[in-house]
């Protein structure tokens, strides 16, 4: 616990650590969103994608990815907590009046409440893992792919989870609000923390960061909502239709 108590690490190293882990988690989110969009291609493609993830490199890939993500999360939280703690130490007596200077300042609601949005994201991640990773996969059964391989019907799990519980859909949507807020400051801030900015590029990088934040949040926000709204189309017991060319384009990649 001494590590948590008094970090003997330079303030610049802490920023590098927060930036590297934060940007890596953003890259994971991009991959996660692209993967999740295969839900719209139907049960065969989504299940094949899940099967691919779990069997790529004989199942080693997912293990390494999970341990890596856990580690990045832990380091990100540790370095962010350490920054928060330094904040309290560095200004024991606060101001009577607090304001925003405007102009080139990037101090916003989002940047001031990074810790709050971060905690909300952490709580959401735990709920999300309980919902899917640690859900009972036996209930949904299996599905036979075109090439005869039998795979767990995770498509059915996702569709059932969201279609049967509008409260959960709302919770997911609210969590994406927290994610958006965190990334509105987080993405640009990580680039600055890694020392990758120049005077001329700062305004653009700030805008690009906010655009990526909104795009990711909207993408994840729409998934549960659309699944809930398209209750007729997203049939959990759908029989895969292999005639669609779009789906056939994706399937070979995932089934290897």
């Amino acid at each position: 616990m001494t590590l948590l108590k008094e970090p003997q690490i330079s303030s610049v190293c802490k920023k590098l650590l927060t930036g590297i882990t934060g940007l890596s988690l953003v890259l994971f989110l991009v991959a996660h969103l692209i993967g999740n969009l295969t839900l719209f291609a139907g049960p065969d493609v989504f299940n094949a994608y899940a099967q691919f993830l779990h069997h790529f490199m004989h199942g080693m890939f997912i293990r390494i990815a999970e341990i890596g993500l856990m580690g990045f999360f832990a380091l990100h939280i540790w370095s962010a907590l350490s920054v928060q703690r330094s904040k309290k130490r560095a200004r024991p007596t606060g101001y009577e009046v607090n304001s925003y200077a405007g102009g080139p300042s990037k101090k916003t609601f989002h940047s001031m409440y990074m810790a709050v949005s971060g905690i909300l994201i952490l709580v959401f991640v735990i709920i999300h893992l309980i919902n899917f990773k640690y859900a009972d996969h036996e209930i949904v059964g299996t599905m036979t792919m075109e090439n005869g391989i039998e795979v767990t019907n995770v498509y059915k799990l996702v569709v059932n989870t969201f279609q049967g519980n509008f409260g959960l859909v709302l919770l997911y949507m609210a969590a994406m609000g927290a994610l958006c807020s965190h990334l509105m400051h987080g993405i640009w801030s990580a680039i600055q923390s890694l020392g990758l900015t120049r005077p001329a590029t700062i305004p653009y990088l700030n805008l690009v960061g906010m655009a990526i934040a909104i795009a990711l949040a909207v993408g994840f926000f729409l998934l549960p909502l659309l699944i809930f709204m398209m209750r007729g189309t997203f049939d959990p017991n759908a029989v895969p239709d292999y005639s669609s060319h779009a789906r056939l384009l994706l399937a070979p990649w995932m089934l290897g």
């Binding site: 330079s10 610049v12 130490r89 560095a90 890694l194």
Partner: protein
């Protein structure tokens, strides 16, 4: 014009402090903010009260001595100027203005609105210099330096060390000051000798002075009287990372 003031009064470093209400009548809109405080102090002296302690020297925005937090913003709402450059014309009749000292553990309060900014001097002593004799004007002219680099070095060297960046930072970080002081030497030949260790030494001293960590709010750039870019903080991080791999 009449203005109402709420000024932080504190008799000494360990004495309790509080905001005290004052009213200043007959303020001329062309007066500077500090001249307005001067007339308040004249009133207080006439009444036999202790005048408000605040710092100032050149009163033309170049010495970095003055520094007040006005309505929650270091050097006031105008931006791009020091406290002494603020004119009373930006306020309206009957406005209430809150005046507080720079707040940071590394800037201990001495009295009222005066804080001790020696922490900056100790950071400078760790690497904010060149050990070679830089010569005089003719030597500078005979050293050919690309105009863009000279401009960038000058933009950083414009820092007057007023400490507003620390006062404005939600974390009380001194990153902009240290970033500027490291950056001004980065591209110039005179700065190369100590370059490999400068960032490490100055950042280490900054941390040990008790300044907070930077969270990239960029509030410092917004209040900086010399409008120094936070890209200098970015450069400090690059220089620091490189200095970790330096031999000495």
């Amino acid at each position: 014009m009449k203005v109402n003031l709420k000024i932080w009064r504190q008799a000494g470093p360990d004495a309790p402090g509080k905001l005290v209400d004052y009213t200043v009548e007959n303020v001329d809109p062309s007066q500077s903010f500090l001249e307005m405080l001067d007339s308040l102090n004249e009133q207080l002296v006439k009444k036999g009260e202790v005048p408000v302690a605040f710092e100032s020297d050149c009163r033309e925005g170049i010495c970095g001595n003055c520094g007040l937090v006005i309505n929650g913003i270091a050097h006031g709402e105008k931006g791009g100027c020091t406290t002494c450059e603020i004119r009373m014309r930006q306020y309206k009749e009957g406005d209430t203005i809150t005046v507080e000292p720079f707040r940071a553990k590394a800037f201990p309060l001495i009295k009222d609105l005066v804080v001790n900014r020696s922490a900056f001097d100790r950071i400078m002593s760790k690497g904010g210099y060149v050990a070679v004799n830089a010569g005089s004007a003719q030597d500078a002219n005979s050293q050919l330096i690309h105009r863009d680099l000279a401009e960038e070095a000058m933009d950083a060297a414009a820092c007057i060390g007023c400490g507003a960046c620390v006062a404005a930072c939600p974390n009380a970080s001194a990153s902009l000051f240290v970033g500027a002081k490291i950056s001004q030497f980065t591209w110039l030949p005179q700065g190369q000798i100590e370059r490999s260790t400068r960032a490490k030494k100055m950042v280490t001293q900054m941390d040990s002075e008790g300044f907070g960590d930077c969270s990239n709010h960029a509030e410092c750039e917004a209040v900086c009287p010399k409008e120094i870019s936070i890209a200098n903080i970015s450069r400090m991080r690059r220089e620091f990372t490189k200095s970790l791999f330096a031999r000495n």
